[in-house]
Symmetry: D2
């Protein structure tokens, strides 16, 4: 059994790690870390695991944990892991970081968008950007540090990657209009996240300044081998889970449906977790709810010579905890879908 510790286990991504790992055959959770609930029973906070998890929440002491665990998941605020990570920890346990600390290779871009000084840039080069379907080949038993991708980022990149990689679209024309459920806003006690502030409302936020923008740009830039600038607009939707991306771009080639479909199939046909939908069927977040699936599709507009590409996933699963487990599976040489076989719960 792989011994697992979770730092930040009482946030939404943390809880979801618990839910998934409890259904994973090769794993034992040895540490439920939490800053706010130390010494409280985990099952008294998330009562869904009542009579299932007898553990008490422990502090977020990474050094001690590293000696007890084979792998540590950190579902912590930006800057936290960068401030505490050290060689000792990495020597003792693998780390899969669900925060943004090691996602962006250019530390100045990180510091510009996150308004935080990066405390341990020396670990950025070795961190693998854990977008499994694209970077699977870079992850193996020697990998020590995974930068687990952001939720908006995973949706945006997987929706657009084949188009960018194959030169179907002009990458600088990309506009990503994204809609997220409210778990994406985290479990902090803030007025804007209260029920009555979110319910019966839709709004854009972080327009032109959202921190997932440079992450999407960097990764799609690798795909087309150049620096690109895109527009990314997130919206808050009154629902718990799910991200829907509706992306727009100018076509760079004269293509028809079959050509573009073949491009998507080239990259995704054999991917268990990515489903390219039938012609004209639009992704809906409910059809991936609670699962690690990503549904994608596209439509071509001959009137404007543009493409509309769409993708949907569950932000706390494939957009966070599920992808983290998938990365762990790859690191440890397990079946990639171990612990991730949940059928989506569509209502």
């Amino acid at each position: 059994m792989i011994k697992v510790g979770i730092i930040g286990s009482t946030g939404y991504a943390g809880e979801e790690l618990v839910r998934l790992l409890l259904q994973h055959k090769e794993v034992e959770i040895v540490w439920y870390g939490s800053r706010s609930y130390v010494d409280e029973k985990y099952a008294s906070i998330f009562r869904n695991v009542c009579e299932i998890v007898p553990d008490i929440c422990k502090s977020d002491d990474l050094e001690t944990l590293a000696k007890e665990a084979d792998v540590i998941f950190t579902a912590t605020p930006q800057g936290y892991l960068a401030g505490v990570l050290n060689d000792n920890i990495l020597a003792n346990a693998k780390v899969i970081d669900l925060s943004a600390d090691y996602r962006i290779k250019d530390v100045s871009i990180y510091e510009e968008w996150y308004k935080i000084e990066h405390k341990s840039p020396q670990y950025i080069p070795e961190a693998v950007y854990g977008l499994c379907e694209i970077n699977r080949g870079k992850i193996n038993k020697d990998t020590r540090l995974i930068a687990n991708p952001g939720c908006y980022t995973t949706t945006s990149i997987l929706t657009l990657y084949p188009l960018v990689k194959e030169g179907i679209i002009d990458p600088n024309s990309i506009i990503v209009d994204a809609k997220s459920g409210t778990t994406g806003a985290g479990r902090g006690a803030k007025v804007p996240n209260l029920y009555c502030e979110v319910n019966e409302n839709i709004k854009a936020y972080g327009v032109l300044t959202h921190r997932h923008t440079p992450e999407i740009e960097e990764q799609l830039g690798y795909a087309c081998d150049k620096d690109i600038n895109i527009i990314f607009t997130p919206h808050l939707v009154p629902m718990n889970r799910g991200i829907l991306v509706t992306a727009y771009a100018n076509l760079a080639k004269d293509v028809d449906y079959d050509t573009v479909k073949a491009v998507y199939d080239k990259y995704y046909k054999d991917e268990k977790f990515i489903r390219v939908l039938d012609k004209d069927v639009c992704p809906e977040t409910r059809y991936v709810q609670g699962s690690n699936y990503v549904d994608v599709n596209f439509k071509l507009d001959s009137r404007t010579n543009r493409i509309v590409a769409m993708g949907a996933l569950d932000n706390v699963v494939k957009g966070a905890a599920g992808q983290a487990v998938q990365n762990m599976n790859i690191m440890f040489g397990l079946d990639e879908d171990e612990g991730l076989k949940q059928i989506p719960m569509c209502f």
Copy 2:
């Protein structure tokens, strides 16, 4: 592998049977029955199973299905199964009926509350009322017909059973105030079930006339060995899943917390799917969402000499499809929780 057929697979309970049975190791679904979608791809209706279920919907021909399946689940409107069930079918396959047709032993009560003539009352005596935790002993490999309990009924009975059985309360004083998610209203296209009619609203319905009333009365009557009359009031809540029962009754004995807790533990301590919560903790539907669990608890009111007993479950799982699978497991001698190990999804 047990070959399973589902009649009514495109309603909410039907879909949930599919979701659960796809995660069951000993089962193969051989028939996706549907009246409305014959010859359509099942995964085009419930796209959560896209790339998972390749099957086409078939008609609801029970006779043919009985020859191909070991067990048939019927998630059909009231009166349907009673109208078509015959010896041939029962000779070929076990039947687990999610409708109310064989739940009530007194056919005149059934006909009075359901306003339907019962077409095959001859099968009522052999039908086992499949409330697993209470009637487990009556279900075995020879059982041919299970009357799977109603959703409100399961919640109400499991919440009150120990109190009635042990004479803690006056059963004729019972008032069940129940609140249900909207999947309970079914998937029929009716104006009152439209999003904008249900959202931002709560209402009682079927006050004093709801058809789960006699079912609760009959089963709790068995527990105290007399005929009883209760009040049952269902309410429609703007959420997809979940039933919460808040039940009230006069205490028949002078009891304290520990005594009543011991009574609950006597019946439920070893039950995997029933969780008696810690003192003062109230059940919430979200903590059982997507799972077969039932959470119960109670509070004693010395001011009025009454008890408030509460129970929560997921109406489409323990209140329908999950309990049906649990019944199947018992019938076939499998582990009772096979296919039912989902951790609740609490958001």
Copy 3:
């Protein structure tokens, strides 16, 4: 024009006072009080009044305000007003208190249920309990202090008052099962009120300990002229507004529908804001949304000799701000519905 000041204008009840008073012909709001947003533009907090309210939030300095206003609404936490109220204030301005400070005549009961020492019990005797339809006669131009009733209380009392007053039911058998929208939980930044904690869930809370219990008991006790004990159970519903009460009681007399209907009509037929619905029609919160209406109805159960009485209102209007404005109208001799003519917004 009546000059109005609002203390606590940036909570949900406060905002609703603003919304209603802006539509009141005889009123001018001169003070938007707030503890959290002093010196901020009111319309930057509640942007629905953008370009309508140019005012800046002021502190909650009641003494100064009393000199500038004819009437002060206090939508403040329990204990606040009792701690600052004095003769000077009452000499200068009328006070309508939306908190519980002066609702309960027996100060020991207040202190027992609220766990707060009452700092100014000397004002309790003169405070009029502002349940307009029942206490209208006690409110006039000389009234200095109104204790505006609680939201659950208003719904519960108006639903049951005619039955208790006319001896139709045994008041000690009353059970009130209440369901509230989430504005009732206030606008404080607390984890249990976050969108993802409330959405897709229903729960009871404050079972047997909720502080509206003694308020209901006291007022219904006046109606039947004895001390009574009831059970009151509130539930949190995933919607913004609305309270639905489903109340149960034993019949004390042999009555039929027409008799009980006549009793309701006796008290409510001429009340603009109370609507006794047609036979068998159940109140729904959506049909009173945004308005000062209360919809009530009842059903008799000959099987158990009990009555089910139901009532629905909008907790922030008739359950708070609307009733406060109604009280102001009575105090100032205005038409009782001035500023309260909004047609309910049923979706």
Copy 4:
């Protein structure tokens, strides 16, 4: 008093006409037309107007109605009015049509996008496109027929009009990503509009084929005096009311914030119902809920040389019934905001 008849009064836009007109001082509703509920009490269908509206629903007999009413609102399915309108009707009453029948001047475009033969194209030329803020000057006491704009269209045009009119953007680069509440889907009993199908989900629909596309193109084409092609993508959001438009376009000029702000102010500063928000404040649908307001704003992106323009309104008010009343007010020479003074209900 203006005598008003409503055809289609039992749909969502019809009910909203009733709600608004009941609060209009110069109007008397003389005809509640309905196809589905003839001879039923209007207040038994929409119980919010219980004890307010005593009327019975009448048939949709336009000829008879025209003799009894001064103005007729038709909130009917596409093609209905075009099939029955005639000179007699227009000679007797003004008609404000909330359907799309007379919105598009080029009948071939109407027939292409709506897949319906237009039965009375002879009335198209005289129909005034009732986007009040832009076409106010074309509406007067002699106007007989108003084509009331679509909900998505109103939001999209008002968000983009100043930018197109003043040549700030390249109109052919416009992408409108729109999000709508579910009242926009109508009150028809269809499975995709059931509560459990809409709740906890977001999806795009009608991608590249939605029928509001040519209406937006035609009207914005007038603003820049050329034929344009845009992309319009609607999404269904789990909420009752509201449309949010997030629009993207390439800048055609080198502009800064102040320049663009001045352009918006030029057209909207004196408009009561259009509010240009403060810098960096994003429109949210809740802040216009229940009212006739439109909130707009924009952000400039120097990285990509594009603009993000945003607009929010209530689809059943400014997007339907409210704008229809506004048009009536202009036609009859009344204050433009008569009956439309509701303060938005922000929760």
